[in-house]
């Protein structure tokens, strides 16, 4: 089955606040699907809710949330735990604090394999060393015995990636994996992820706010704004033919060397992200949109601009 | 909801402390009899809820015929007095040390830390007992001894809060404006650490009351015939298997008073956002 993850009309609420108001996306095997948007748009929350890792007071609803055809919404916590770290894995934004300081790198890596595949300590250690080498860490045997505080941020993130791969997952969710790293390290980690994804045939759901990363690695892009996916398209098509005013605005903000002119101001989108109350209706972008009219305050239609390109706007 | 519980507890604590303060201040007006007058023929009469009680003595009499209720109320006075004076004394010592160490830093701070460490390693009850045993027990000696021993938490908290405040911008601004150290201490540091210290003071009062009770229980605290609750429990120990109410009553009042003070202190801590640990 080539469709790994199906998310349809996902809604997430933290008490009265609606963090996600209807996100839909799919991730196929072998594809890198980037979920892009600014801070607070709900992209991290979406990723966390796929693995059901949200805090207790979050409520989650969706028309469909399935992994390899299996419904995730009705899965018990124990059932979900069997999938996590196993068939689907996740890496996070803060490598400095995401590893347990009290245990060695090796023990944290081997415990995943031993928990899910009942592997022996020896087999698990061997695989851990293999994966550390795979993610570009030298002297992997020594690293297994080290503690997280002895590694740099970039190394820790590589360990996180290797740890996520221990049980050969089909789906890897990466929540802004390079945001907290230096620029040079960022490029290395992205290249690593791209290579691994290609070699292992993973489906990769990559959360980011950086359009540069999207352009570099994404097969497909979903743009999120104020809790909704406003546009979704293959990468090349999104950059060539953005249909949603927000996407257009975003792309205008990216200065392209050679194309920008000195006498023109850098692009920006006026206004700020609105606060979405419980009874919000219509398009969340209308206050900042040049093309908004009265109908934008009511239900917004979803149009298609191509076989796999859709967007949420009244314009076509 | 947690706030709500805290509030109920805080009000309860405030009510207890208020009642105790009232009893302490107005004790002579509240008691039906003189707590020191002995009445041997009427010793060990039972409280009003038991059969055969004497209507003259609501809570009965102790082993020397003294009115129990009167001794209880006077005991409240003693507990409050000891608690407050000890807290005051240890507070002065501890706050001075802590503020000096936290503000001046360097070798002075090392010395203060050393003093705190040394004080913590000294067994307080033992030393207080030894002092009373060697010099004879008296209220003054008790308060002095406990005051000289119980300053550690004051010192620790005032030191850490002073260090925090010292690094804040408005202190640097005052420094730049040419204020003297003393002025900075008085006008910038002390007002900002005051709320934390009030909370520590309430907890220390509770602790001092418990300590005094323990010392009086062992016979080397408040000297008899002064009716300390600890002493009353000790005197009742010999009869406790036959007349359990004799140790229950002062024990319950002691427990309730300390509980009330602690709840009030916790409530104040929540109110001020203060810290009681470094």
């Amino acid at each position: 089955m080539s469709v790994l993850l199906e998310v349809e009309k996902l809604e997430i609420n933290f008490g009265p606040t609606a963090a996600v108001r209807g996100a839909s996306l799919t991730v196929q095997r072998g594809e890198t699907h980037c979920l892009v948007g600014e801070s607070g748009c709900g992209k991290s929350v979406t990723a966390l809710s796929v693995m059901n890792l949200l805090v207790k007071n979050a409520t989650r609803r969706a028309a469909k949330l399935a992994f390899q055809g299996e419904d995730l919404l009705s899965l018990s916590d124990a059932g979900m735990a069997r999938l996590r770290g196993n068939a689907m894995a996740m890496i996070f934004q803060e490598p400095m604090t995401s590893l347990n300081p009290a245990y060695t790198v090796g023990s944290q890596m081997t415990e995943v394999l031993r928990r899910h595949k009942k592997a022996s300590q020896r087999a698990a250690s061997d695989r851990a060393a293999d994966l550390l080498a795979r993610v570009g860490i030298t002297a992997p045997g020594m690293r297994l015995g080290q503690f997280p505080h002895q590694l740099s941020g970039g190394l820790r993130q590589r360990v996180m990636i290797a740890m996520a791969l221990m049980c050969e997952p089909q789906l890897l969710i990466a929540d802004e994996p390079t945001t907290a790293l230096d620029v040079t390290v960022q490029a290395q980690i992205l290249r690593l992820l791209a290579n691994l994804q290609r070699d292992l045939g993973l489906g990769l759901l990559l959360i980011t706010h950086d359009l540069g990363i999207v352009a570099r690695v994404a097969t497909r892009v979903s743009v999120m704004y104020a809790g909704e996916v406003v546009e979704s398209a293959p990468t090349a098509e999104l950059f060539a033919n953005p249909k949603h005013p927000y996407t257009q605005g975003l792309l205008r903000c990216v200065p392209v060397p050679g194309k920008i002119r000195r006498d023109q101001p850098l692009g920006s989108i006026p206004g700020t992200v609105p606060r979405i109350g419980p009874a919000f209706e219509g398009c969340a972008f209308r206050e900042r949109c040049d093309f908004a009219d009265a109908t934008c305050a009511h239900a917004v239609p979803r149009h298609k601009a191509g076989p796999v390109h859709d967007f949420l706007c009244r314009l076509t | 909801m947690r706030r709500g519980w805290r509030n109920a507890g805080t009000w309860f604590g405030a009510a207890i402390v208020g009642a105790a303060a009232f009893c302490a201040v107005f004790a002579p007006l509240l008691v039906p009899h003189d707590p020191f007058v002995q009445d041997i023929p009427h010793r060990l009469s039972v409280p009003f809820w038991m059969a055969g009680s004497d209507p003259q003595h609501l809570l009965g009499t102790d082993q020397l015929g003294r009115d129990y209720l009167a001794r209880l109320i006077y005991g409240c006075r003693i507990s409050m007095l000891v608690g407050i004076t000890v807290s005051l004394t240890s507070g002065i010592i501890g706050i001075t040390l802590g503020v000096l160490g936290g503000f001046l830093g360097g070798k002075i701070d090392d010395a203060v830390l050393f003093a705190i460490t040394t004080r913590l390693s000294i067994p307080v009850v033992l030393v207080a007992l030894a002092v009373a045993g060697l010099l004879g027990s008296s209220m003054t000696l008790l308060v002095l001894t406990l005051g000289l021993l119980q300053w550690d938490r004051f010192a620790v908290v005032s030191r850490s809060t002073t260090m925090q405040v010292r690094n804040l911008d408005f202190v640097a601004a005052a420094w730049c404006a040419g204020c003297s150290r003393l002025r900075i201490l008085a006008r910038e540091v002390l007002p900002n650490i005051a709320s934390h210290l009030v909370v520590v003071a309430t907890l220390e009062i509770a602790l001092a009351i418990l300590l005094e009770a323990a010392l009086s229980f062992l016979g080397l605290g408040v000297p008899p015939p002064l009716p300390s609750w600890g002493l009353m429990i000790s005197e009742a120990k010999d009869y406790m298997f036959f007349s359990p109410w004799v140790i229950m009553i002062p024990g319950i009042t002691l427990f309730v008073l300390v509980l009330g003070i602690n709840l009030l202190g916790d409530g104040l801590r929540d109110l001020f956002g203060a810290r009681t640990q470094p």
């Binding site: 693995m51 735990a81 996590r84 770290g85 928990r115 | 050393f114 067994p123 323990a214 140790i247």
Partner: protein
């Protein structure tokens, strides 16, 4: 790491030396010891004899260094009352106090750890509030009174436990429970706070993302970090328990070091009193060093310097 330990050791020695001075001063507070030892009916000649016999005619400084020097080698002098060496008295009584202290600590940990963990896991529920209430009540409880109540209920009415003496291991249960009460509030609060912090940390989110079992996440990952300060404080609490055992030992007639100190105060047995203060202080200092070592052992971040 080694440098840190060496520095702590130096501080520990200095503290011990200071306590020695203080303990010495403590017993000399009442003025002329010879008069106290000789008794109320002594004549002037008797007092002089006593003074010479006990070396109390020497200058105070000399007396101090004599005692301090010998104490450093383990010779704490002789008891005025028991007519044996203080060291042998302490050696004889120490096991009782240690057993009592360790029992108290064990009970305290057995109660505090589960309560703290459960309170954190069920944060802000009715159970959590119950845990906090227990902590508040425990803090207000007068230990000697609790001991007496337990005696009445479990010793007299139910007859389950012995009310005095150290004949069997059951003798340590009630006094152990009373001692534990003094430590339970602090340990419970610390465990709960540490667990709440650990549970909301990023590495626990990672552990959940790895699909580990709930037990593994709580006990292997969260507790391991939350327990670091608890273990250190527990060692210090043991120090407080040992130092404060005098009240409990008196209530339950346990012949430990605290009881010995109590008897010695009554009898003006100064060498014992000053030695007990010193020994208890040394034990406390040792336990705080143990706490530092435990911290370093449990927290890998403290090990490499």
């Amino acid at each position: 790491m080694l440098r840190f330990l060496v520095r702590r050791l130096i501080v520990a020695l200095l503290v011990t030396a200071t306590v020695m001075v203080l303990a010495f001063i403590l017993t000399r507070l009442s003025g002329d010891l010879a008069i106290s030892i000789a008794g109320p009916n002594a004549t002037q000649a008797d007092i002089e004899t006593v003074r010479k016999a006990y070396g109390l005619d020497r200058p105070l400084i000399v007396q101090f260094f004599d005692w301090a020097g010998r104490a450093a080698t383990g010779d704490l002098g002789d008891s005025y009352f028991f007519k044996t060496s203080v060291s042998s008295l302490l050696a004889e009584r120490m096991p009782v106090t240690l057993t009592l202290g360790l029992t108290g600590l064990l009970i305290a940990l057995l109660v505090s750890l589960p309560l703290g963990i459960l309170g954190a896991v069920r944060e802000n529920t009715a159970f959590d509030r119950l845990v906090q209430i227990v902590a508040v009540l425990g803090q207000a409880m007068p230990s000697f009174w609790l001991g007496l109540i337990l005696m009445i209920v479990f010793g007299l009415w139910l007859g389950w436990l012995p009310i005095s003496g150290t004949d069997s291991w059951q003798s340590y249960i009630m006094p152990g429970v009373v001692l534990a009460f003094s430590a339970i509030p602090a340990l419970t609060r610390l465990t709960r706070a540490g667990m709440i912090q650990a549970i909301s940390s990023d590495y626990i989110r990672t552990a959940r993302a790895k699909g580990l079992t709930r037990a593994s996440i709580l006990l292997k990952h969260a507790l391991r970090n939350a327990a670091i300060p608890v273990v250190a404080i527990a060692a210090v609490q043991l120090g407080f328990m040992l130092g404060g055992s005098i009240v409990i030992e008196q209530v339950f007639a346990l012949h430990g070091v605290g009881f010995l100190a109590w008897e010695s105060i009554q009898k003006n047995d100064f060498p014992v009193v000053q030695s007990v203060v010193l020994v208890l202080a040394v034990i406390y200092v040792g336990l705080t060093m143990l706490a530092d070592i435990l911290n370093a052992v449990l927290d890998p971040r403290l090990r490499s310097s």
